[in-house]
Amino acid sequence: MLRPLPLLTAAVLSLPVAVGLLGTVLPAIGLGAVGTGLSAEPFRAVLDWPGLTRAMAVSVSSGLLSTLGALLVATLILAGWQGTRAFVWLERMLSPLLAVPHAAAALGLAFLIAPSGWIARVPALVLGWDRPPDLLILQDPWGLSLTAGLIAKELPFLLLMMLAALGQTDQRRRMAVARSLGQGRIAGWLKTVFPALYAQVRLPVLVVLVYAMTNVDVALILGPNVPPTLSVQVTRWMAEPDLSQRAVAAAGAAIQFALVLGALAVWWGGERAVARLGCAWVWAGRGLPERSARAAGLVLGVVSALAVLLGIAALALWSVAAGWRFPELGPDALTARSWMRFGPEMLSVAGDTLTLAAAATALSLLLVVGCLEAEHRFGLTVGQRALWLLYLPLLIPQVAFLPGLVTAAAAFGLGPSWTLVALGHVVFVLPYVFLSLAGPFRAWDGRLARVGAGLGASPDAVLWRLRLPMLLAPVLTAAAVGMAVSVGQYLPTLLLGGGRVVTLATEAVALAAGGDRRAIGVWGLGQTGAAFLPFALALLVPALVWRNRRGLRHG
């Protein structure tokens, strides 16, 4: 019962990716169900698309710049402020932002930085403008607002990943030596702690790079429009009613995949170059302008956190705004009208979204607990290669293999359906559930299992009656992480559901184009709430269940 689970999990992670990539490549060269025989026609169609060069350039630049930006800010914050009160405060501000879905964060940010947004209203009030400035800030052709949005959203992720890995780097003693040898706080950290830390968080950094280059939801909201990014254009080709466009979409997806591989190669080369430069820097013995670097880290971190927080606040305010003319900083009056109008439908879709998330998360949890328990009982450890496997669905762009997966599923007679969407979510939810639960599960005191066995409990009884109840808090946290991931999924829901499975993510992104700010406010806030609800329960339930068990709190 337990033994095949690790293999099954490996299949769940790798098969959809492999089948999907194959299903993308075949139609792209004219083969497969929609093809008419080997031909270069699909690629020619993509190459004939006039926006291709720009779309590729924006995809690469926004991907590389935002990853670099988020990594830089996270590094400056950690190097300059770790162990201070300011850091604790910043960490508290940034951590919850991890749960905010990408689409909701992007919508909020759009409310903030649009020419008629909150920020522009300040100079407008002071200078007496009566209409928004005529600037293309949002959806600018070079994807700068897209890049900024991605930095703000990925910063909490990278910071928390780095913080989690910091424990394995011996940073205290390294820093003590580095500083006693005359290095400043940030320079010493970069020279001694960063190399070890980066090696630990390399995979998450690559996940950010791939996501930033190929995401569709944030690019639709903040990214350029004519031409859009390549991933957005591929999604558009997929949505065409004319089925022959599927082959064009496949060719576009293949080009996007090649582009990602190219960017990964560039990143890899960059890593080498930085390592070399770092060595030269150590030899030169020079420091950094410590004070400015520390200040920059703090300011950038606070601005980034505020951008997302104020964006959510803007969503909230618009959802209850009666009239709100341009230069005014707040609405004339508050009203529940928008909630009466959009609320019922939003809540019903929220119910569907959470049901879908619960299904995908439950299945993921089952597989993850099975894998971890198999590892514990049979010593089926999977090692470093398994870590790559776990990251596989996150490192291969969704837009590269999902179109192929849809085509392949159709070839087996599996049309778009709710089940397909739920199974698709599992592929993306499972890695996060695993990463979140593995640490606490493995750290559980194994002597308790031996005591239990000595009292006559079978291995199953030990799992169900000792281990899992004691690990209630981490299990629920992992479930909350999984549900938040599922609530945020846009492209899998859209493509695997054939546009017929509606979730908060698909609705919120669809509304973005319409520009009804009150509707966007209600739906964007709804998506944020749906992602946060499981976290609230994950905190509340163990506190209630174990309210009389001091040894199990803070676990």
């Binding site: 003693r173 030596v177 500083r179 006693s180 040898l181 020279k191 070890a196 060595c279 030899w283 013995g285």
Partner: protein, 209 residues
């Protein structure tokens, strides 16, 4: 008396509990040994002198080095070197880069290379520059760590039980090397240990906690 390392009624606290009180002067070229059981706050005292006290601890009293008050100075500005029981060579840098790490900035590259080569020759490790520190033996690593701290031209040296992880034969050898070099550099040395033999070899005043 301005020269040397002066601990002026230094008291170390953990929360509200006082761990120790020390009043001592370490003259240039001499070793003062601080002996006490583990948990007596010896290492914490060294952290205080370094300017790197862990959260949860605090200390009172003045620390001066060659007449300069160290209070409020950043650790990197104090010019106080330290050796721990582990050599703590940076594993991502080769041996030469580890040695270059503490060289004061400003000198030309060729000069820095030469200084590192001289240092390696000095500890009989010529040609070890490009080696991975993880491939060094315990004694070799201890010598590199010593040279690294000396190259940074510290004005005082702190020793946090630096010999306790070496086996007996090696221990005497490294101990003599460290004390000899520190005396030759003419800097004050503060040694923390619970090994009587260390205190004896140090030859200076011993403070028992």
């Amino acid at each position: 008396m301005a020269d040397g390392l002066r601990l002026d009624r230094v008291r170390v606290f953990q929360g509200r509990r006082r761990l120790l009180e020390v009043d001592a002067t370490v003259l240039p070229g001499t070793v003062v040994t601080l002996m006490g059981p583990s948990g007596s706050g010896k290492s914490t005292l060294l952290s205080y002198v370094m300017g790197d006290l862990a959260p949860g601890f605090h200390a009172e009293g003045r620390v001066t080095l060659d007449g300069r008050d160290l209070g409020g100075l950043a650790p990197e500005a104090r010019r106080v070197g330290i050796l721990y029981q582990d050599p703590l060579l940076f594993p991502h840098l080769d041996v030469a880069a580890n040695l270059a790490f503490g060289l004061p900035p400003g000198s030309p590259r060729a000069e820095r290379r030469a200084a590192v080569d001289r240092a390696l020759a000095d500890i009989s490790l010529s040609g070890f520059g490009p080696r991975d520190p993880a491939t060094l033996s315990g004694g070799q690593a201890a010598r590199v760590a010593l040279m690294r701290v000396l190259l940074s031209a510290p004005r005082a040296l702190l020793l946090d039980e630096p010999f306790s992880k070496l086996d007996t034969g090696l221990r005497r050898q490294i101990r003599d090397l460290v004390f000899g070099r520190a005396r030759a550099a003419g800097i004050p040395v503060l040694l923390v240990t619970h090994d009587e033999a260390d205190a004896e070899a140090a030859g200076g005043p011993v403070i028992r906690l």
